[in-house]
Amino acid sequence: MMTLTIGLVALMVLADAASDILVARAMKQIGEVTSFRPRALVGTLARMFRSPSFTAGIGAAAIHFFTFLALLSFVGLSTVFPATALVYVVATAGAQLILKEHVSLRRWAGVSLVCTGMILVSMT
């Protein structure tokens, strides 16, 4: 049971981070949104849903959601919820390695504090 829990937690965190990274990649490919008029926003939404990265991101978000539900069926929220904070570290590493973002040491320090704080908040 322990191995299954660790495996599902890893899948949940990876799927959540993958969702963020894929959506970010899709939005970079679409280009900066500069007009917020309804017609322009509808056009942006249409381009988003035609982007393979964006739809893959939605798929990864669905995997994250159902893995989260599956975990809740046999371990408590107090076990699952702190683990979700790991997504900040994993997504930042993905942004640096896959999206080639420049992540300074100061930003890493901030991300680490956020992750630690989220773990404390989610502990019951």
Partner: protein, 135 residues
């Protein structure tokens, strides 16, 4: 500045959405008799709850704003910044919903706030220029 403004509105929408959902579910629990087992009535109550509709609309607004921000800023900046929502949520849960907030929760929110402040301070960071690349 534009990034932080959009993220601030997104965080406000998410926090307000969570409060609306929380209030909606409390009203639902008070109005529904679980012993009756009438789940269709429960679905009817949920679908006609203005709190739940407002919560869903606010969370959809959050998702849209966050996605739009990703079109011009780094994920490694936007993602930690939106975690400030937890600070707002813990504050609002204690103040508006009357929930008790433990010292551990306050310590966690303090760390999140400090982390977000550090990350926001890097908003103007640029990648170091590599040799052979134009500055």
């Amino acid at each position: 500045m534009k990034t932080l403004l959009f993220l601030a509105v997104a965080v406000a929408a998410q926090a307000a959405g969570n409060i609306c959902l929380s209030l909606g579910m409390r009203h639902l629990a008070a109005a529904f008799n679980a012993d009756s087992g009438d789940w269709i009535a429960l679905a009817g109550l949920a679908l006609t709850s203005p709190w739940l509709w407002a919560g869903a609309a606010l969370l959809a607004t959050f998702t849209l704003l966050f996605t739009l921000v990703l079109s011009w800023t780094d994920l490694s900046l936007a993602l930690p910044v939106i975690s400030v929502e937890i600070v707002v949520n813990v504050g609002l849960a204690g103040w508006l919903l009357g929930e008790s907030v433990s010292p551990l929760h306050w310590l966690g929110t303090l760390l999140v706030a400090a982390g977000v402040a550090l990350v926001v301070g890097t908003a103007r960071d640029k990648a170091p220029v590599q040799e052979g690349q134009p500055a």
